[in-house]
Point group: C2
Chain length 165, copies 2
Amino acid sequence: MTPRSTPPDASDPAPALDGRTPTDPALDAPRTTVDALVQLSFLVQGMLARVATAHDLSLVQVRLLGILRDRRPGMLELARHLDLDKSSMTGLVARAEKRGLVRREPSPHDGRAVLVALTPEGRTLIDRCAAEMDARVAELTSPLSAGQHTQLRTLSATLLRPHAG
Amino acid sequence: MTPRSTPPDASDPAPALDGRTPTDPALDAPRTTVDALVQLSFLVQGMLARVATAHDLSLVQVRLLGILRDRRPGMLELARHLDLDKSSMTGLVARAEKRGLVRREPSPHDGRAVLVALTPEGRTLIDRCAAEMDARVAELTSPLSAGQHTQLRTLSATLLRPHAG
DNA sequence: AGAAGTAGTACGCGACACAAACTAAATCGG
DNA sequence: CCGATTTAGTTTGTGTCGCGTACTACTTCT
């Protein structure tokens, strides 16, 4: 009864990659680990997106402000963090700037570069938004026992570790 | 050494809600369960999005085609599944139709309704795409032991159950 | 038959993302 | 020091996406 060393279900034919919640009345638990991860990611992202739009922000803008909480990067570094083209940053930052959430300042060391920083209004907004997101997701995990919390953190760490960078 | 009964970290002040992978060299494991879930969701969604764009599809289009794999819903039902406004469906389906991935047919029972179905080309594409997504995410979970696979499925089921519907 | 509800579309708007072309500043090789 | 190259960022144009509003056509209720 040794656990087999191959993942038990990676070749299942029809994973639920559409992000919908199955409507089957009885057995709607994910049948494969892949399904579990995909469905979970859609659930979490949906929550985050809902909170973001409640604050009149897109998810990308939340990520932008979130990065700026402890950094003052240039446009290119921002683009790398957000996995966007540099040309996409211009509009993104411009819109945030027009709303007074963000400030552009010239780099002291590089005449080409622009540093992006949170304004006090931006900080207030992202803090409020992050707190609410935290609350929502915390509520999601509330049915878990303390041991399950630990399990989930451990599993996530294992999955995230090879992708740090 | 009994595990405490309160969730250990739900009130941590600064969760990494920006979806970036921490760049700290040493300790980059998520410190809270919420962080773990959020980071994981961004990682998975990023993978799915990359595969989708590799097939010249958006994530929403993949979800659309995914739903149609085993259904032939009307526009309104599609909108409900995708959490979109019904007016957003028109364009979405129209673009997919223009690419020959999807077919609109009148409902036999309701003169107003339109049923949306996959074309053979659409089925080929979504199958290929889903298989690749499955492979990517399966690769992500490959460092997990068989027991950890089960753990993750169980945890996900617990988290997803209250949100089925 | 007439009133009310429902399914879908049309249109206008803005956000978002990319690619390609461009400007300006830094850096490199000689 | 000077020209060539690289780098940071913007501009412009195109297309997707999503919403709200208004509209049409068909059903359903009474």
